[in-house]
Structures are given as C-alpha cells and as structure tokens.
C-alpha cells in the first residue's frame, strides 16, 4: 500500500492511494462549548438534502449527546473496540490506523451497522455520566457531565469511503477536498458504509445506492458556507478551508484556530483519516474522555481556549463564527474589530470586540409606557 503523511498522527501511514491533497481543503470548526443541541443544523440539512424517498432515516448532519448518544448506535465505540487499545500519548501515534489494521481480504477495518442501529437518532439525549451524590458541588471538569457533539462528514484527507469503494464511486474533489459518492456509478455495495468509521455514508433503500453529506458543494462553490453553518443559532460553526500545519496562514481564521492557536482538535485522529472537521473541546468534560475523542493535545487546547481573551487574534477568529453566511478566507483584527474577507480580499463583515451598549429611557414618551428591555 502507498505511504502517505498524516500530520494529525505525526507520521507516515498506509493508505489505498497516493497522497493527493486538494488545491483547497474544505474544513469546519465547531465550538462544542456553545452547542445546545437544538438540532437546527440537523433540520436545515434534512430539509435541504434528505427529504426524498429512501432518505427518511438519514441525517447527514446530526447532534448527539456524548458519551452515551450515538447515530448510528455505538458507531464510535464499536470501531474503537475493533481497533483495540490505542496509544495516543505523544505527538506520534504509535498504534494502528484502520487502514493498517485492515483484516486480510478487506481494504479497511470496518463494520456494517445493523438496520436498527439507525432507529434512535437522538438516543440518550441529555443523559449524564454518573449521578448526583450528597455533597456534590460545581467544579471544572464537572463531576457529572455530558456534552453535545454535532457531526457532519469529515471530508477526510484520507477518506475510508474512498479507500473502501472497489468501483471508485466515492471520490475526493481536487478543487475543494469535498468527498462525494457518484450517484451514477455507485451500485450500492455498501463498502463505504462498512468502511467509514464515522458512519456518514448512508444506504438509500429506494434508490439502492449510498449517499453522503455533500458539504453543501453548490453553496461552497459560490463562496457560501454550508447550511448547517449558516443556520446555527448558537453560532458554533465556522466553515472554510484549511491548509497543512507547514503551510498555515495566520490570516486564515481556520488555520489560526487549528494550526496556530491549536484550540480545535480533529475527532478520533487515531483512526488515521485526517478528518477535516475540528472541535473546540468542551471545557467541563474530564480530560481522560476528551483524550480518547480528540487525541493527546486536548488539555492544552482547553487551556488556550480558556485564556482566549489574552490572544486578540484568537478572540477575533472566534468572533467570526456565524457572523456572515459567506466563506471567510482571510481575517485581521484591529483595536475594535475582527474583520473578515472573501477570497478576493473584499470585506465581508466586521465584528466588534465589544458590543456597543445603547441605553433607552425606561419610560417611552411616544407610547406612554414603561419598558423593561432598555439595553
């Protein structure tokens, strides 16, 4: 098998194809601390992409409660269990990826979920770990905890769906790194469903082929962020493009958050796909669990995030989440504003570091009424 470099695990690894990074790589940052699992993203995606026959059960975007929520049931614990104990300490991952652990006769280590695993998309919603005991008190990390994990396809640099498909029906676009399944070429073998550890390809039982999150490519081609990003009421998402750590540009908000400030981490990097959705870890969750989810550097990511006020560039980049529907390629910060620009350098939006406060008189002369909402 060809050797490719995966910066997230700090080493070369085996993959089905040669390294072929796209011109631009679709990426997203999600701040789990701000997600309230309102599922607005889920519904926006559903109404945009999966309202048709055979797609009834599909959620290309879903939000699950961790650690007990899964869609499909047990997706992550199942593949972690198959992969065995993983040594994720240090900057170089010493264990095997799902490509290196592929059983004889298979292209990747995977499993096919049961049909019923998709039957409870929001199972264990809001279920916490542990129970409140006498003398419990608020501390960070929390004694009893759960957190929300919004998920889309990771549009991986080394997609398992692409590697697993024997017909080259799944492919990665060279122009933006979005991973798609060719709806004409796919024959519904479900090797992608079996191979993807994140279980984001779905089998459509009416069209009898597999489908997946399309990264809202028609919007992205027009310089607009995905539906799940622009509809997010909590402004937890920033979708744009990412480079490699060596090529990181300080004026790219995603590069700054991921490569320079290092406050956002990929999901299960030890699986070896170099996923391109990055999570700012939840600060209230015990580090041992977060380490399993986001790899070894999660502690420093949380520490930096909690001191974001000390890094004006980081704070500025975080303020851009949900500030405009357009894709922000560049940004800069001034004393008062974080300013974002499109690919051509046109200004898209400027967000004040400090919202101005407007005070209105509590008595409205025009309507002869008393107001309580005066700010």
């Amino acid at each position: 098998m060809p050797k490719v470099y995966n910066w997230q695990i700090g080493r070369e690894m085996e993959y089905l194809y040669d390294e072929a990074r796209p011109k631009k790589q679709f990426a997203m940052v999600m701040d789990t601390n701000k997600c309230i699992a309102c599922q607005t993203c889920t519904v926006a995606c559903k109404t945009t992409w999966t309202s048709s026959r055979g797609q009834e059960y599909m959620f290309w975007n879903n939000v699950e409660t961790k650690p007990y929520g899964f869609y499909p049931l047990g997706w992550d614990v199942n593949i972690l269990d198959k992969l065995g104990v993983q040594d994720i300490d240090g900057s170089v991952y010493k264990g095997k990826t799902i490509f290196e652990a592929a059983p004889s006769g298979d292209r990747v280590l995977g499993y096919l979920p049961d049909d019923l695993d998709y039957a409870h998309p929001n199972i264990s919603e809001d279920d916490s770990v542990g129970s409140m005991t006498q003398g419990a008190f608020m501390q960070v990390p929390h004694m009893q905890w759960m957190h929300y994990l919004p998920r889309i396809c990771n549009h991986c640099t080394y997609p398992a769906c692409v590697g697993a498909c024997p017909r080259q029906s799944a492919y990665k676009r060279p122009e933006d790194g979005i991973v798609l399944i060719d709806q004409m070429r796919c024959r519904g073998y479900r090797e992608c469903v079996r191979g993807c550890p994140y279980k984001k390809p779905f089998f459509n039982s009416i069209t009898r082929v597999s489908e997946k999150c399309v990264g809202c490519y028609p919007a992205v081609e027009e310089g607009r962020q995905t539906q799940c990003s622009v509809t997010c009421i909590g402004k937890i998402r920033l979708q744009g493009f990412i480079t490699t750590p060596q090529q990181a540009r300080e004026d790219n908000p995603l590069d700054y958050i991921i490569h320079i400030a290092k406050v956002a981490r990929p999901l299960y990097p030890q699986l070896g796909l170099e996923p391109n959705v990055y999570y700012i870890p939840p600060v209230h969750v015990p580090p041992a669990y977060l380490k399993q989810l986001f790899g070894g550097d999660v502690g420093s990511a949380i520490a930096t995030y909690r001191k974001a006020a000390d890094d004006k560039k980081l704070l500025g980049a975080l303020l851009l989440f949900g500030a405009t529907p357009d894709i922000m390629h560049h940004f800069k910060v001034t004393d008062r504003f974080a300013i974002a620009y499109n690919e051509k350098g046109d200004e898209l939006v400027r967000v004040p570091f400090k919202e101005p406060i407007y005070l209105r008189p509590s008595f409205d002369e025009a309507y002869q009424t008393v107001r309580s909402n005066i700010t």
């Binding site: 309202s51 048709s52 026959r53 055979g54 797609q55 009834e56 006769g105 298979d106 292209r107 096919l112 979920p113 049961d114 049909d115 998709y118 697993a164 024997p166 017909r167 080259q168 709806q183 004409m184 796919c186 024959r187 519904g188 073998y189 479900r190 090797e191 469903v193 779905f202 089998f203 459509n204 039982s205 009416i206 069209t207 009898r208 082929v209 489908e211």
Partner: protein, 309 residues
Amino acid sequence: MKGMRKILYLAALGVGLSGCASTGAETDAAKPAPATPHLASQLPKPMPAPDGGLQAARISGKGAILDPFAKEWSQVKPVKVALQPQVVATPNNPTPAVSEINARAVHNGQWLAVLLEWKDPTKSDRLVVDRFGDQAAIELPVFYRADSSPNPMMGAPGERVNIIQWRAAFQADLERKREMTIRDNYPNAATDLYPDQVLKAMDIRSYMGAAGVDNPVAKHRDSPVLDQVAEGFGTLSTKLHQQADGRGVWKNGVWYVVIATPMHQEGANAPQLIPGNNTVISFAVWEGGSQEVGARKAWSDWVPLKLVK
C-alpha cells in the same frame, strides 16, 4: 503486469478450490429437494464434471426463453460447475455460501438462454442497510479466440467481457408491478410529503439522488438483469442499450434463474454468439443472506460453451 496477473489468478484458483470444499454445502445440506416435477429429479444429479463444457442445445421458436420451468430445459442435462471464492481483489469473502451451481443452455438462433440453479435456503430480495440481495451472473468474452481466453475475473484492459447480472431485488420490482415505497421495506413507516408530490416533474430530479441521474440500479426496472461490460476489476459499466433479459424463481430453497441474451448484437460490447461455434462462459453467484455483494462473491473459471448448429 500480465505475468503478475496470471500468478494472482493461479493463486486464486488454488485457494478457491480448497476453500469451496469446506463451505456452502454445509449450510443447506439438509434442505429438501425442490418440488417442481421435471427439475426435482435432475437437480441432485447433474453431469459429473464440466470438462466437455456446456452445450447450448438448439431449440425451435423465437424470442427470449425466460421461463425457468419451460419444457425446453428438459432437453438438456444440467452441468455442475464448481464455484470458488473471489480472493484476488479486495474486498473479498474467502468463504462464500454457494460452492456449486447447475447450469444448462439452449438457443433458438436468436437468443441464448442459460438456466442456473443453486440451493439457497433464504430468499433475499429486500435491500436495507444490512440486507443484501441474491444475485447471479454469466460472463461471456466479447472477442473469443480458442488459443487465448480473456481473464475470467472480469476481463482485463483490452480483454473486454460481457457480464449479465440477474438480481433478486430487480425480480421483486417486476413482481411488485409498481414503484417501490418505504412501506415495502418498513411496513409501519409514517412519512410526510415528498418533493415529488409537490414539485413539477422537471424540478424533482435533483431531489431523487441516483434515480434523478438515471442510475440503472435505482430505477424500477422492466428486466431483472443488467447488461454490462468490464475490462478488469472496478470497471464494470452498464451498456447503453439494455437488451438482455431474464427471470428468477425461488422455490423450496432453490433459485432457478434464466439469463438470456440476444445472439445478434452490434457494437464493441457484443459477444460473438454464432451457432456452430465455440466460446466460453463463466458464472458468479452472490448469496445475499451471507452479505455477499460486489467483489465478495463466488465465481467460476471459464467453462467451454458450444452453440449447437
């Protein structure tokens, strides 16, 4: 490259033969013989080996022979063909469920028809994420030369093969006689409006996924077979003009599947099927109940096929 392919191919044969001896037969050994009168006596007693190959008997009549229980089939004795696991390409299943099939062939000068019979205790024609359909295929070389057959494993670059695949799910489409709905797969499903119920026909294609781009497996079909060509692993492509036909019947733990193809076709994808001539044929079976699909299959080497004049 060619040498390497041959080595791989021989390796596959070795593994395949040892593999098929221990599989398949165990799973359905206790099944009763089929009840269909003229086949019941023949299925357990095929010709001992396919050394002499398959003879496609000449029969009278016109049009495609599609009925697996037509009286014409009793004119030819079935030939037993051993199937091996496909283990050259990945992904694969080294222990496929079906290790042998009975095959026989007839032609009427216009259509060649092949009847395949194999034991399968479970009829699998419902496709949901963890359910796969039973399938069978015949393979014919597009250009046949007695001194050099193409690679039987889906051909090779420059060695094009015609692969005609029957699918139980397509057969179910035909018998349903209407478009499939979610309730065919999940009888208690509750649904809201679909885009195709509120939009104009010209606007719904983009909502229909594979059906919207006329993927041949996504549409309700008039025939249970796909007429395809390949030049090696991963290259299987559907022919523009679908002329082959077929019919499958599952009865008492046995699939009886007819795959028929016109003998006179134009173009670079048409096998040469001339009465009086020899060619070769090979077979593949997918047992849906064992999650066999795509490259996870049982296949046969080339079997000589004589088209009786």
